[in-house]
């Protein structure tokens, strides 16, 4: 049995469905992420799990028991808020003791568990500090400690890293992974940052306009997106509008108006005449100087339109002869082999026929 089951849940605001017939099951011990742009319904869903909102239709089950009508304080579900929402009039230790006090734990147990949890988030020295004396990262840790101390069945995290700067964010990501593994509490993480979702999660539900577009592991989402939205939302990608001209020879023959003809891996059930898009990751696109040096069938000539040097990699935008502008990401890892092109250079781009994913519709 799943730890949390969301069954056909709909929540409307003024006729608009913020969450639209969402069903999913979260397993115990998982690091589960709800990923999507703002307004996709992920926060509404989170608030319904926490108990701050109730579904208009459908039901939520925790450990097989319905959550309908159960007040937030009665749910073994705690939340780490985006703003941290630390109690400003309590010390760090007071904040962390709060859920234990509300659960009427004995005094000695509270003292011990506060100590343990402070150690867990590396804030042993800060117990007597007030929230306004802490840095952003420290506040974040207190919020985590406060959410975890009473061992909830589920810890909800609402964009908890959003307020941190990039470097700190990366550190906290590593800490979050370790923390989740060590305490074994199921995490439901909400974010709009796809990179963060990929780095942290066991599974990700990509949400768009109130619905789950795809629920998969990070690598499956990245390498095999099931829709244009997912392909476009997660990482950088070239979306090439195509028509299937041949589906009979163990591969897909595709034609793009702004590009020409090329081949892709076959997709079961796809027939000639269908329209769709080929989703192609920039790092799978090769860029070379001369046509002859490429042994791939999917190859096109063009000119470098612009480039972004990012240090470890360089992103090229190449205008192909057919008009299509394709993005290619080249690593700068091998100084002997890597060649930096300039804007205006004539180049050949190519990709393996199994590099792209054909998306119907």
């Amino acid at each position: 049995m799943a730890l949390l089951e969301i069954r056909e849940v709909t929540r409307r605001f003024g006729g608009l469905a913020a969450v639209d017939r969402v069903s999913l099951a979260i397993e115990a011990g998982e690091f589960f992420t709800l990923l999507g742009p703002s307004g996709c319904g992920k926060t509404t869903l989170l608030r319904m799990i926490a108990g701050f909102d109730e579904p208009d239709e459908g039901e939520l089950f925790l450990d097989g028991k319905s959550l309908s009508g159960i007040a937030p304080e009665k749910r073994p579900v705690h939340t780490v808020f985006q703003s941290y929402a630390l109690f400003p009039h309590m010390t760090v230790a007071g904040n962390i003791a709060f859920p234990l006090e509300m659960a009427n734990r004995p005094r000695e147990e509270i003292a011990r568990r506060v100590r343990e949890t402070l150690a867990l988030v590396h804030l042993d020295e800060k117990g007597q500090a007030y929230p306004h004396e802490l840095s952003g990262g420290q506040k974040q840790r207190v919020a985590l400690a406060r959410g975890l101390v009473n061992k909830p069945r589920l810890l909800l995290l609402d964009e908890p890293l959003g307020a941190l700067d990039a470097k700190l964010r990366e550190e906290m990501q590593v800490e979050l992974i370790n923390l989740q593994r060590d305490v074994g509490v199921t995490f439901v993480f909400v974010t709009h940052a796809q990179q963060e979702a990929l780095a942290l999660s066991h599974r990700i539900a990509v949400m768009n306009m109130g619905r789950v577009e795809q629920l998969d592991t990070p690598d499956r989402l990245y390498t095999a997106p099931s829709s244009r939205f997912v392909a476009d939302f997660i990482g950088k990608i070239n979306l090439i509008e195509v028509e299937v001209i041949d589906a009979s020879h163990g591969h897909l023959g595709l034609r793009a108006a702004a590009l020409g003809e090329f081949a892709a891996e076959p997709v079961p059930g796809v027939k000639a005449g269908e329209r769709g898009a080929l989703a192609l990751r920039p790092e799978l696109v090769r860029v070379t100087e001369r046509l002859e040096s490429v042994d791939l069938r999917n190859r096109f000539t063009g000119r470098v339109k612009e480039l972004l040097y990012l240090g470890d990699v360089t992103l090229y935008k190449v205008q192909l002869d057919g008009g299509f502008v394709i993005e290619a990401l080249l690593t700068n890892a091998a100084p002997g082999r890597a060649r930096l092109f300039k804007a205006g250079d004539s180049v050949t781009v190519a990709w393996r026929h199994d590099a792209g994913v054909f998306l119907r519709g």
Binding site: A50, E73, P88, G147
Partner: protein, 260 residues
């Protein structure tokens, strides 16, 4: 050039402060003056204060004033806090209108309407109780505004966080909301207290004949003449108000620091 403009600014500030404080200083100084007339300094005396202490009517009025101020500001703090929280939580446009109109209403109007209400509608005997209710009425709005301002500057999440972490609505209020609005409650109480203790217009209408307050008593005395005794009682009133302000500023930083 710069020096000159600075000089002008200094002079202007000094003039303003003089305008504000010289009359008060005169009252204080002449309360110690050994003369019936507020004309020239004759010599130092505490005679007027002694006379004040022997003045039963004055003492009763002072007692009434303090009792009414304490009671009315206590009740107004509780009711005002509830109104402030409600205004913050339920964003109904008519609610602030309802709560804050007495604040904006001309005192004379409030006085007349309260008098009519007490006499014509309730058929109440005017006295201590009617003054008390009147003072509560005009104080609630001030407390409500202060509490709402305090809540507006606060992270909304803390109240949800308390519920989320297992606190019932009542515990959330006791452990989170109340401590956080405490500075506003202290400020609101002190404001109500000072408003109540020196209110004249509204009290004048609803006091009736039996019960009198300090401002009413002072007024009835100066109808005859501004005696040094009036100076003395005014000085004491000033001292009380000043103490309240000092207590407030000494209390506030502590509460504020923890509440930030």
């Amino acid at each position: 050039m710069r020096r000159r403009s600075q000089w002008i600014l200094w002079a202007a500030s000094l003039a303003v402060y003089a305008f504000l404080y010289v009359p008060l200083a005169v009252v204080v100084i002449f309360s110690f003056n050994d003369s019936m007339l507020n004309a020239e300094w004759v010599g130092f005396t505490l005679a007027w204060y002694e006379k004040l202490l022997g003045d039963g009517e004055m003492l009763r009025a002072a007692g009434n004033s303090v009792a009414i101020a304490l009671l009315s500001s206590s009740v107004a703090t509780v009711l005002g806090a509830m109104a402030g929280i409600a205004m913050h939580r339920y964003r109904m446009p008519w609610l602030p209108l309802l709560v804050l109109t007495p604040v904006a209403m001309p005192e004379i109007l409030l006085g007349v309407s309260l008098l009519l209400f007490f006499r014509q509608v309730l058929d109440l005997t005017l006295g201590f109780f009617s003054i008390l209710v009147a003072h509560i009425t005009f104080s609630i709005g001030f407390v409500a505004v202060i509490v709402r301002a305090r809540l507006a500057g606060m992270d909304e999440g803390v109240f949800e966080a308390a519920r989320d972490l297992g606190a019932t609505p009542w515990m959330t209020f006791r452990r989170v909301t109340l401590p956080l609005i405490l500075p506003a409650l202290v400020a609101g109480f002190l404001m109500s207290f000072t408003l109540s203790i020196d209110d004249f217009v509204i009290t004048f209408f609803v006091a009736g004949v039996g019960v009198t307050t300090l401002p009413l008593q002072i007024y009835s005395m100066i109808k005859v003449a501004v005696t040094p005794e009036v100076n003395a009682v005014s000085t004491l009133l000033m001292a009380l108000t000043l103490t309240m302000v000092l207590v407030a500023t000494r209390l506030a930083p502590d509460v504020m620091r923890r509440g930030r």
